[in-house]
Chain length 275, copies 2
């Protein structure tokens, strides 16, 4: 649009990187500088707007802590995380789609036996049995895959956001059996707002956007010889499936819970791509 | 290049802003999202590279304080600040070019009489008289313009970076006289590295770039009815004039100091654009 506005400045910045030791870093920074400069040109960004951007980034950095990653939240809410996911995991029809990692993984948990509950205290939510198979892209069961799961409590917060929850509440690690099966007990997940008391929440309000994510359970599944799968399962019928604040929903990840004993059951088979 | 890679994701993020109350914010964020997404597409950024970017931004935020603005430094070293300056101050041939504000302005200082020194302690640098006129774009003198100046000590640090310097050392505010004249005593400025012990310094090293700025004195000149001018004067002959770490040098801002009494003299007239 204004491609010819001060092109020599962009050229100078790119030329200054000619001695970069790492050619990939040079490539990435060249593309970044070109696009960043085009943002300034196309918007004719004012100095006040630039100052507001500096202030926003500074505030975003200022709220980060060991339990709060506001830059990941920013990346998630601008669709950047999902696009990084997309360009890296276009695994094709035969494997389970991936989705955002999010900022709430808190490291590997102690392994639990098949069928165990991931609750560390009782919750009022709907008891739910989650089960299925871990398969390769031809449908062959994978034994011994590590299945890590995490979700919020019915209050809409993860344990790391809520001092009242025991550490590791609603988190668990499991191994798939010889037939590829896994299962665990939990409560039905709920939709919840991402942390919106910081700069990202302020941005969403200014953009007329809500902060909610549809109900989901996070999965990270690893097995030797396979690409690690980071994904969620989403619950059908949720109000926010079409407007996830982080753009993470894919149709193949939506599950329909069914009635089961005293609660609900979710059945979902995961298919991993070869490494 | 990969414009058709997952275009629906970019569309979703842009559509989500449709209810933004401020149309200018919506415009800026639309342009930003489009270019940010194109960076991911064109580089096919890996998840490890994305994580490194998140880590870099978090560290950049983490080092910011009341006396350190690493995001401004990042903007400066990527040429973004100079481009914002350029798109906002294309004042034409008749006015003095502007350049980067930088992170080291520390607020308005007490006004000093014409000819006063901005040193608050003796320095070993070359004594230098800086003088000239404040003019409008037709060459008519402007009386009563506020002239704010700041520079590093001969050690290469600003007072706010160096606890050994008195507050306000090598900073001063002056008013132009009825004939438009201004003058003050200082020491000849030196080239110096921008703060390079943080994430931006690490980035410059990874890009094979040095952190140095050529010797300069900062000026901010304000007068009712005129556009505020933020600029520097640079000293001719400096080693870094062609490779300023923040891309701030413009030929019209380079001055040639001359011998004067026991030291040097710099003469420079500033021409302001009408508001």
């Amino acid at each position: 649009m204004n491609a010819t506005l001060f092109p020599e400045l962009t050229t100078s910045v790119i030329d200054a990187m000619k001695d970069a030791a790492n050619p990939r870093l040079r490539e990435i920074m060249t593309v970044l500088v070109r696009h960043l400069h085009d943002v300034i040109r196309e918007t004719r960004l004012t100095e006040g707007e630039w100052a507001a951007a500096i202030e926003f980034l500074t505030a975003t950095g200022g709220i980060c802590s060991s339990t709060r990653q506001e830059f990941i939240l920013l990346s998630d809410t601008l669709g950047v995380s999902m696009l990084v996911d997309a360009v890296n995991h276009d695994g094709g029809e035969a494997v389970t789609p991936s989705t955002v990692f999010g900022p709430f993984y808190s490291g590997e948990q102690d392994e639990l036996p098949a069928g165990a509950s991931i609750l560390k205290r009782p919750e009022a939510g709907e008891p739910t049995l989650v089960s299925g198979l871990i398969l390769d892209d031809s449908g062959t069961p994978i034994e011994g895959a590590l299945i890590e799961v995490w979700q919020t409590a019915p209050c809409g917060l993860y344990d790391v956001q809520d001092h009242e929850q025991p550490d590791g509440h609603l988190r668990g690690s499991f191994r798939s059996a010889a037939d590829g099966s896994y299962s665990f007990e939990t409560v039905l997940p709920v939709s919840y707002p991402i942390p919106d008391d910081g700069p990202v929440g302020k941005m969403l309000r200014a953009l007329g956007r809500h902060p909610n994510r549809p109900a989901h359970i996070h999965f990270m599944i690893s097995a030797p010889g396979y690409r690690r799968l980071v994904t969620h399962i989403f619950v059908a019928g949720d109000d926010y499936l079409a407007s996830d604040a982080v753009f993470g929903v894919k149709p193949d990840l939506i599950v329909h819970p069914t009635a089961h004993e005293d609660g609900m059951a979710i059945a979902y088979d995961f298919r991993l791509a070869g490494a």
